[in-house]
Symmetry: C2
Subunit: 690 residues, 2 copies
């Protein structure tokens, strides 16, 4: 069975398609001079930031590479390097595409209408989607071919996941601080103090805000999903590599006696057992390949679907890919000789992903949003109280869904089931990531049309696309959290098996201590990131106020007077680069410290505590932030009787939205990565603790 | 050894002293007619609410009593009843004293000056302090005499803790909703819209706000601490009753062989072992007795200390009691023949309590508060972002302190150490509760002097006392959380031992599912309580706005025009009574459901998850809320350059304070009780699950 050889080949094909798609997007018309100028400003700002960010990351990568090479082995160190480079390449390509697609989407909305605008923004997103899926397959595929054949060397692959994870945390936190410092700062002075509309070209922070959308929502989200994708595959491989005979029997759908034999007084796998184990190790990679193929089909189907209602079209592409994937996965599992139970685990994961997305949509676009909007009538304080309450409340159902999926997956396929459920959720990442990456492009397109003064009709098209982008972003965040939870649990199981622990006993105080430390870490990282945004936004406010005060004619919109946008970009970039360091270092160092100082049981407790608190805070922050955002939009759209844009209730809602910004785009998303990164670091150092 | 016989006797003596003290306070002069009138309004409002609340609770108690009597046994049911009645009696006596002491404190400030005012408010608080300590001792003492002698019947005592816990949750949540609905509503309309000062008699919500201080901060806090106090004692008894031979050996400071013997192929305790077990079971009760005696001394020392700086005087009373207690405890442990290691565990608990209090003070009165106050300059949104960040950040050090105390306690005395550490922390509850209960009385006294128009000098004295009250309240909250964490862990250990689980294995998916469900519950209860306050505050705003609009001359302060305060009290009371039900029922039902449906391992996971998340959220909410409160005060006191009361930054800070109100006084404190209540319910049903 040499199926794994096809993984990197398929990955390379996918990557080539992504590059071609990039050039297709780039060949589209770019609009008038003013649009071109704005587009270039965003493009240059984003690429300049990425270059600076990558320079900082290079130092981190070199240090960690050396530490792993010296403290452990060269194989893991190179796998780490590979994971980091793949993740950075995804971010680079995805950003390039997004910052080319944005202005071209605006031009398409102006010149050709909605269908063409949708196609361009979708294709821009597809570059990122395909890059994530293909590079993941290339990287994990090569690592698998080199080390995966033998359960003894399979542990080296874990380094790849760690590389991807570390980059993801820095990219998410850095990007999140960049985008929200700019967004919060511009909104506070522009909307609340100066009373000018969003994206008004007079506002010095607007270009930084648009750069931030690309940096945070595109590059950050891409790194996050890339990490979940490779993390879930690798965790599942690790679980299979260290699986007990009874787990192997479950996966084969046979009894223990037929897969094991006694050798040297120990129960070991016989040939039939080893065959099942190989199949189980291969399955995650196989599913990723199937997922990529159906992602091509899903993305391609947009050619046909683009004239539909854009929201429906986006949903359709996802369903086409997911449906096809599930059918093929069912037969593939049979072909590998694995039990149908494995399929039920995958189904549970996929359904859980969809269900969490639906709940997210409910909390960020329906009754709870109305409650917050209504509460804005009695001021900012009640708006905030209700927003926090909605965020807290929104955790309950997703947690139940995660519990049910854990239960089902475990029932049918043991701990392996939890890993493979995560893989199932993420296999069609090519298309889900495309839909995610589409959002910030549409958002940018709207900003460009406002800044270039293209008029109401164009703005209506881009606003329509942007509104769908908000919903897909919220669903995407729910999906990212759900997949992160399952991936973290799979990594946790892989850690426990690899480190040789049969029990991590909650009654032992050392485990409880680990649990408390782990639980406190997401709160701490949340504090660091919120403080960073608050501080940087404060500086941004001062700078924008200064420009309005000191640049004559700026606020009045005098012909030819332009704000100093570069200054604002610098404030965001400096804050992002400086303040991403500490959270990243804490996340990498904490499991190492706890593991070596308090022991492997405490580390197990810590991972569990961090996963539970991290998932809960991520849900609370993402959903609360999304709900605040839409509550403001409800008032703007006149959905709240007696209230209108610019009134007292609207002002209260803008304050709520501003608080929600770092919640949903900085601290919340950082949680996903934090829990995966800590688990993967634990998995990498597991052989030293065993 | 018949020492336990003295427990109820000492308790009765303490209770008699509390009653005498009540009459001493009541005999103080009550001031002019206007003050008397205001005092009566608050007294009547508070007692009327308490009567209504207790009527609702009576139904709950009867139902649960019957369920326990039928489903389990009469003994547990009656113990439950006893716990509930003792807790309610504490609330009743404490409230009566607080609502008598408030107006008399104002009069003392007017007629005699600060020392007398401090004495009266302190004595008012001491009634609650002594009631909590003595009734706890009476109740647990009697239960111990009836059932404690035999490890087999000791489990019936658990019912007492459950009774105390259930009442505590309702009292805390109900009181918290009452007080914050009134507080938030009055502030939003009074301070922000009408621009009138706090406690202005024209504001219809002011009486309700003052009633709320008594209902929430006095009765609610009393029930909370009462629960921790009896919970920690009972958990430690339960741990001793089910202790392993090796734990008994540790407690005796001897080797296992000298405390055990083999009988019927099983290792059981010999006579020496049984003697150590009896001593270990008696110790928590003995410590409570010693603590009560030193509480008398601490409280009595105020007679001498009252002319000192009030803040120092309050600290001194606490240190006198704690110092004396520790010395006596050391000798008592030796007298009982237990290992000195037990003393180190107690010391760890006591020091942890003090340390957490100090950290709380730092986060609610020092640099972090300044950060929030500075952030108010750029508006309400940055104020809120920084406040949330401070709340999140403030969890880290207290969690480390808790971890260190768990580590030390376990190192020296195993799981028993964690329980006895909590007992040590809470033994001098007579005086710590006194200092806590003093706060709302001083707060009320200030309100009364403002409403009665007693002038600046009187207000300055009461403001001084109130400011210290804010600090003691913050420290008290930190202490309440720390003690709740240790108590919950002790109850958790008691649950595990009672239910017969040697391991609760985090690798098993059913435990992970429990962990997730448990973690989500504090978020859910937080959501319910925040929503309740938000909704009730919204109604309060509407009602106060209506009165200002419809009652001619009210806002202008026309002679003889009075607001309809009763209407506002009714809004708060109705909201509190209606909305306290669901959180209470969820907290009691959740462990029962999880235990019987998913099993005892899942229930163990759930308790651990709830404890970790509950403690973290409690810290975040209490400290965040306290910091917001003081950030507003900093601006009012002119500590932020260029900002003043009534300016834009102050307005932003008032919004932050308003958001912090339900955080620190409703949802945050509810967490403490939630985790203890769920653990104690699990402990009560443990024999059915075993």
């Amino acid at each position: 069975m040499e199926l794994q050889m096809f993984a990197p080949i398929l990955g390379v094909i996918g990557f080539v398609i992504a590059i071609v798609l990039y050039h297709v997007v780039k060949a589209e018309p770019v609009g008038n001079e003013r649009m071109q100028e704005i587009g270039d400003d965003i493009y240059n700002g984003a690429m300049a930031f990425l270059a600076r960010e990558y320079r900082v990351l290079a130092i981190f990568i070199v240090i960690v590479f050396c530490l792993i090479a010296v403290g452990m082995n060269k194989e893991t160190a190179f796998a780490f390097l590979g994971g980091a480079l793949c993740s950075m390449t995804c971010g680079f390509i995805g950003m390039k595409a997004a910052t080319r697609a944005n202005v071209r989407t605006t031009e398409a909305a102006r010149a050709s209408g909605q269908a063409k605008a949708l196609e361009i923004s979708f294709n821009g997103g597809a570059v990122m989607g395909l890059a994530v899926a293909s590079l993941g397959l290339v990287g994990v595929g090569i690592a698998y071919i080199m080390f995966g054949g033998d359960p003894a060397t399979a542990k080296y692959i874990n380094g790849f996941a760690m590389g991807a994870s570390s980059i993801a945390l820095f990219a998410r936190v850095g990007g999140g601080i960049f985008t929200k410092a700019a967004d919060v700062g511009s909104d506070l002075v522009g909307k609340l103090e100066a009373g000018i509309p969003e994206d008004d070209p007079r506002n010095p922070g607007v270009i930084a805000d648009n750069v931030g959308d690309c940096v945070g929502d595109t590059a950050g989200m891409g790194a996050d999903i890339f990490e979940s994708y490779v993390g879930s595959i690798i965790a599942t491989i690790a679980i299979s590599a260290a699986a007990s005979t009874s787990l192997i029997a479950t996966l084969g759908g046979v009894d223990v006696a037929s897969v094991s034999t006694f050798a040297g007084g120990k129960e070991v796998l016989n040939d039939a057992g080893i065959a099942i184990q190989s199949a189980a190790m291969l399955l995650p990679l196989g599913l990723a390949m199937i997922g990529l193929v159906f992602s091509f089909i899903g993305i391609g189907s947009m050619k046909v679907l683009k004239t539909m209602d854009p929201g429906k079209a986006l949903h359709c592409t996802t369903f086409v890919a997911a449906g096809g994937f599930l059918i093929a996965a069912f037969f593939f599992i049979g072909y590998l000789g694995l039990s149908t139970g494995v399929f039920w685990a995958i189904l549970a994961g996929t359904l859980a992903g969809i269900a969490i997305g639906q709940v997210t949509e409910y909390y960020t676009a329906h009754a709870p949003v109305l409650r917050i909007a209504e509460a804005s009538k009695t001021g900012a304080a009640t708006n905030i109280i209700h927003g926090l309450a909605v965020g807290l409340e929104s955790t309950a159902i997703p947690i139940m869904i995660i519990c049910v999926s854990i239960f089902v997956a475990n029932q049918f396929a043991g701990l392996y089931g939890i890993g493979i459920a995560a893989v199932g959720m993420l296999a069609t990442v090519g298309v889900t990531m495309t839909v995610d990456a589409y959002g910030p492009i549409a958002d940018n397109a709207g900003g460009i049309s406002e800044m270039a003064g293209l008029g109401k009709e164009v703005r209506e098209i881009t606003d329509g696309l942007d509104a769908i982008g908000s919903t897909t972003a919220a669903i995407g965040k729910g999906f990212a959290i759900g997949s992160a939870a399952l991936t973290a649990l799979a990594l946790f199981s892989a850690y426990a098996t690899t480190v040789g622990l049969k029990t991590i006993n909650l009654i032992e105080p050392k485990v409880v201590i680990g649990l408390f430390i782990g639980g406190a870490l997401p709160f701490f990282i949340g504090a660091l990131t919120m403080t960073s945004v608050g501080r940087a936004a404060g500086k941004m406010v001062d700078e924008i106020r200064r420009q309005f005060r000191e640049i004559p004619g700026l606020l009045e919109g005098k012909e030819g007077v332009k704000p100093d946008s570069q200054k604002c970009i610098d404030i965001s970039a400096q804050a992002a680069l400086r303040e991403m360091i500490l959270p990243g270092v804490v996340a990498v160092a904490a499991p190492v410290l706890v593991g070596f100082v308090l022991g492997k049981e405490s580390l197990g407790g810590m991972l569990a505590g961090a996963t539970v608190c991290g998932v809960l805070l991520a849900l609370m922050m993402s959903n609360g932030g999304g709900a605040w955002d839409n509550a403001k939009k409800y008032i703007e759209q006149g959905k709240i009787e007696g209230e209108e844009k610019g009134g007292a209730a609207h002002e209260a809602a803008v304050i709520g939205d501003t608080v929600g910004d770092p919640f949903k785009d900085t601290s919340g998303p950082a949680m996903n990565i934090l829990i995966k990164l800590m688990s993967v670091v634990a998995l990498v150092i597991a052989p030293l603790l065993a």
